[in-house]
Symmetry: C2
Subunit: 587 residues, 2 copies
Amino acid sequence: MEQTINVLDKVNSPEDVKKLGVSEMYKLADEIRHYIIKKVNTTGGHLGPNLGMVEATIALHYVFNSPADKIVFDVSHQCYPHKFLTGRKEGFTNPEQYQAYTGYTAPEESEHDWFKVGHTSTSVSLACGLAKARDLKGGNENVVAIIGDGSLSGGEAYEGLNNAAVLGSNIIIIVNDNEMSIAENHGGLYKNLKLLRDTNGEAECNFFKSLGFDYYYIEEGHNIEKLIDLFNKTKDLNHPVLIHMHTIKGKGLDAAELDKEHYHWILPGELDVNYSPSQGGNDYGSLTASYIEQKSLEDNSIIAISPATPGVSGFSPEFRKKVGIHYTDVGIAEEHAVAFASGIAKNGGKPILAMMSSFVQRTYDQLSQDLALNSNPATLLIFWGGISGADATHLTCFDIPLISNIPNMVYLAPTCREEYLRMLDWSVNQKDYPVAIRVPAGDANPAGQEDNTDYSIINKYKLEEAGSKAAIIGLGSFLNLGRQVKSALKEKLGIEATLINPRFITGLDREMLESLKNNHDIVITLEDGMLDGGFGEKIARYYGASDMKVLNYGAKKEFPDRVPLQTLYERYRLTPDLIVEDVKACL
Amino acid sequence: MEQTINVLDKVNSPEDVKKLGVSEMYKLADEIRHYIIKKVNTTGGHLGPNLGMVEATIALHYVFNSPADKIVFDVSHQCYPHKFLTGRKEGFTNPEQYQAYTGYTAPEESEHDWFKVGHTSTSVSLACGLAKARDLKGGNENVVAIIGDGSLSGGEAYEGLNNAAVLGSNIIIIVNDNEMSIAENHGGLYKNLKLLRDTNGEAECNFFKSLGFDYYYIEEGHNIEKLIDLFNKTKDLNHPVLIHMHTIKGKGLDAAELDKEHYHWILPGELDVNYSPSQGGNDYGSLTASYIEQKSLEDNSIIAISPATPGVSGFSPEFRKKVGIHYTDVGIAEEHAVAFASGIAKNGGKPILAMMSSFVQRTYDQLSQDLALNSNPATLLIFWGGISGADATHLTCFDIPLISNIPNMVYLAPTCREEYLRMLDWSVNQKDYPVAIRVPAGDANPAGQEDNTDYSIINKYKLEEAGSKAAIIGLGSFLNLGRQVKSALKEKLGIEATLINPRFITGLDREMLESLKNNHDIVITLEDGMLDGGFGEKIARYYGASDMKVLNYGAKKEFPDRVPLQTLYERYRLTPDLIVEDVKACL
């Protein structure tokens, strides 16, 4: 292909797109697709969403005048074509620049990007804000929001649509309907979208019209001429417009068109191997799925719930088929998911709701009011919690402050396979508490020691190894770091430190903490998450009036953006050597 | 009226309602209304919502078999008629029992109540959970959710409806359409509700049908026979049903029917005086409104935003009229409100979003992702933050842990009129930070000292009075308690304590904290909110490795329910005497 590429060579900005003829634009689409596939297969990343938006993005930049006209992408995992056309194509065509740009829109990269986003369902509200400021200031630019159909199930999207419809001025909302969320779509709305597709947008019963939008349907979402015509028609109007655009997720790559869920996001090199459904692994997701599969055979009231991210928690297509009614995907609707789980628990069911740490923050009020205030015994599994080198939009270090400060919640931090299964089984079968479990990342390796703990005795820490002078409290996945710190303290300072596995994030074991005062001078807390509002600060508060010294370790309050994990650990002094240094300084 | 009352005498449970004839039921409605008005005018409380639901509640208990059939009330501030019919009428007929029951549904009061709720838009999701558990267990009872039209603008309600529509089994959702939120309704949906009312539910373009519901309209929401007919028709169906019921908010009380916003909730005795629109007071709400009114004359880009609670922040009907386009109510849609404000700020506008502390937790993800991650300079005003004797559903002590642990946010705690105005003006005009201000409660009395602080110097605490040995850090409204503690320390222990007004909740003044080490042994923090995850713990962490003792004071992690404030203060040792006792014990 390399020999024939030439349109992309002359496109460095939206201005250049406007100079192209239609056939050149199609060629440009091919070229962009080629490079997206190559780049994503090298670095990993979002594949299907980007392949589906190539033609529409070209047409957008042909018709609208970015950045005067403002384009807001929802989730923004479909913004790669936009990056090609706004001065950032090198990030895709030149392997040495593959890491130059984020996988999301980023105002610091380009004046054509308005927001740093990564969570879903936000674009309409954000665009409403841009439009409102324009109206206050007397401007006349177009404001465009692009939102995928999967994002429409989120409450914020609806709140935005309901308000956008009565904005009273220009806003153009493009619903990119590719018939998919990450997994398939769920909810009544999606039948209406199908009806609208089946009737070429003509059906009278129309969700968008019911909200008051001037509605346009375009069946051929990859037909550049038709897209340009429609965008021209809806440009510069003085009222809210909704364009319902039908596209194909993964367009142009057979495998991605065929298995839309799998190729939503891929790992490096994944296109070079034949994909076969997972046979279950040794990770905590697979372990969770196996547990639920087994339990659902014995207990009708078990139900696993996912808010559109089944892959996060091991709920593979095979698992979903096997457990049948014992699984439900509520779509991107975390608020509903938590209230729903609370209702199930209230009526004697045993809900197990699995979410990614980064997304649990989408439902704080429901955790507090619908669930915790009612003390209903639902089980929440929080996956991937911890400090990470991820994009700033998908950090996973905030779940401890968020969940652990809600009254009545019991938040548990297992450190190995045995503890996880014991906690999970206890949680599912008890009736007293809303319980969240911070599922460890990585392989679910056994510690080799059976766990027979009665977790109904709340806030009882486990003494892993008794020592003196210094006590290390290693929470969850950082118990292992605690072991390393213990070794280093012995080696460098000759201290035989105590090691504690607290297991409960949500409360203090006052008896154990009090007893440490007898023969310890310092307590070190280690948590795989943000320090502010977290676990360690409560230990510091507990000892505030005493002579006990306390050193808290965890992440700083910040939004690091793709900072390598090791760099973060150094920054936060989360290494045995640095910790020993600090201990030495304060003894 | 007392002489003629007799139907209510024989109604002690839903069973008794089923024995009544229609004319008795109308008489019962009159009696219930009489007592609601009398009781609410004595104790204060929700008036309009309850008056509007009398007939419908009677019809519900006539047709359905509670508690086998399960009725879930949204917000539940319309559940008083339900309480009359489920064994709790004494709480309304007997003045000595007026405080016996909460103003919301409460499972601990009655088996007919399923959830403790008070925040809005939750009923459909909670009811879906009850229904799902029923289906898993093989039950066949009816599950009914009652939701007001005002609650429909909230994202959780939509997420719930979208999922309820595809539940595949029995659920009956009653939309109580009284054409009102607390203030008037806002959003495109409400035009559709009007269209449906105007066409007796016949219009093809129907929001509820677009989601897939089997839809029924009832115009006469106070006609008991028609209600009974419709409920009988929709009972025991095997699929999701939506009943759109038109009622009159405040029904039966002229004043309440006429000014629906004002009589949504009243103070004790309010019906005995002629209501006249507020002329502006000395409270912080009025002060805020005056500031915005003035500023909007000078600056086109100013906009005040309320998520359906304008009364909380002084945005009276008169204010709204005066400022015109410089005010917008987005309806109950806190998530939209925050993202919208972020978008406005991004495009050069100056948004001032005012919310009640209890409701800010409905929008954590938007505060973090849409706003803070983008560092857009929006101003949030958090009203009524602090420990309170309110219902467990409306506590206001969680906003510090919630907001202050989000990176990039600047959360300010003014202690007087001058500081508040200075902070507000700084926030509105700066471009660097998303800022939240914890607006003090009560009168906006001047401290008498002009505030010329440059708040762009972040995290600079104010030394109110220099002393030694003990330092008191009194946050926001608790600076005053700090003054009292200072006096008590002097009087009882002879200590001339230092008093600090930190003003910044979101960061530490390391320079000042470090300097305290020179001549202080103990630092006392006072915060008007929950200790866990809050301000004081960060001070404890800061001093963890030093010899400084730290005592943190604030609320315990719990959901107190209508516990008198003074009792809570004692429980939390938040009195000068108790604090001095603690200081004495640890010096």
